[in-house]
């Protein structure tokens, strides 16, 4: 696995390349930091929560979301086109019978432009290596024991698509408005390591 990105050798090499690009006039000083800030500016788990809440109150939207998430999220003013190219978003819905959980076993692929940076545990080798083999055990360690009758689908986001889990709407929330429902959704719920 390619887990160690913090070595001083690679960091020094990156700094050297950055300095070379600046000295050649190809890059302004600090431009990379500015571009990274721009890339992350709109990314927050609140975006995912808005998508989920809309899907809970509007079954037709939920249907469109599961069929073509990239097109559907434009209805709530969101897009996967925040990076260099638009990435495919795949939304997977939890049901009474099946729970979904997302991992990137090869690195740490995550819908960053939409949800912001991923949590540190998502990038850990422990999570990446174990959740594909024993998702039931890992979810239990997250304090989320699944009933034995619920099947689990693990999605390995190691290629071009990014994933979002659509949690089940909690019981007893029939009176809540869409914005209140969005407040119930957590980042873990969007990855599949929490019920909501």
């Amino acid at each position: 696995m390619s887990g160690d990105h913090g070595s001083s050798v690679i960091s020094a090499r990156v700094r050297h390349v950055e300095a070379l690009l600046e000295s050649c006039g190809l890059l302004d000083a600090g431009e990379i930091d500015i571009r990274i800030d721009e890339f992350l500016a709109g990314g927050t788990p609140a975006n995912g929560a808005r998508i989920v809440a809309r899907a809970w109150v509007d079954p037709a939207f939920a249907e469109r979301l599961l069929a073509d998430a990239n097109t559907a999220i434009r209805e709530v003013g969101l897009s996967m086109a925040g990076g260099l190219q638009e990435q495919r978003l795949k939304v997977v819905a939890n049901s009474a019978d099946q729970h979904n959980v997302v991992v990137c076993t090869l690195c740490s692929c995550y819908p960053i432009a939409l949800l912001g940076p991923s949590p540190s545990w998502y990038k850990s080798e422990a999570y990446r290596s174990r959740v594909v083999r024993d998702p039931r055990g890992v979810l239990a360690e997250f304090g989320f024991p699944l009933p034995a009758g619920t099947s689990i689908a693990v999605w390995d986001a190691s290629a071009e698509s990014r994933y979002l889990v659509l949690p089940r709407r909690p019981v007893g929330t029939g009176d809540l408005a869409e914005t209140e429902l969005a407040g119930l959704v957590t980042r873990k719920g969007l990855i599949g390591t929490a019920p909501v």
Binding site: K90, V132, R133, A153, V154, S158, A159, E160
Partner: protein, 94 residues
């Protein structure tokens, strides 16, 4: 069954060899039999791009495996996104 070997529902076997360079076929999913779920666009092979080679875009598939087939245990499924080059259709003999 469709005559098109790469179509949703078709069974495929993944490449078993360990390539010298970068690949997006995870080790745990090598030499395994899975089912095509849906196509996830078309992209140049990541293995080629990592070597600076610009290849043609090819289909990328969501391929679903039974955990028991990958790890010898587990009642869950694992769905991996794989380039068509990694996959060989399995001929069905009814």
């Amino acid at each position: 069954m469709s005559t098109e070997p790469f179509t949703p529902g078709a069974r495929v076997r993944t490449r078993s060899t360990d390539p010298a360079g970068h690949t997006r076929l995870p080790r745990y999913a090598r030499g395994a039999v899975g089912v095509l779920v849906e196509q996830a666009g078309r992209h140049p092979l990541a293995d080629d791009r990592a070597r600076g080679v610009t290849g043609d875009a090819q289909p990328v598939w969501h391929v679903r495996f039974a955990a028991a087939d990958l790890f010898g245990a587990g009642d869950h499924t694992v769905t991996v996104e794989l380039w068509q080059d990694y996959l060989t259709p399995i001929e069905e003999h009814p």
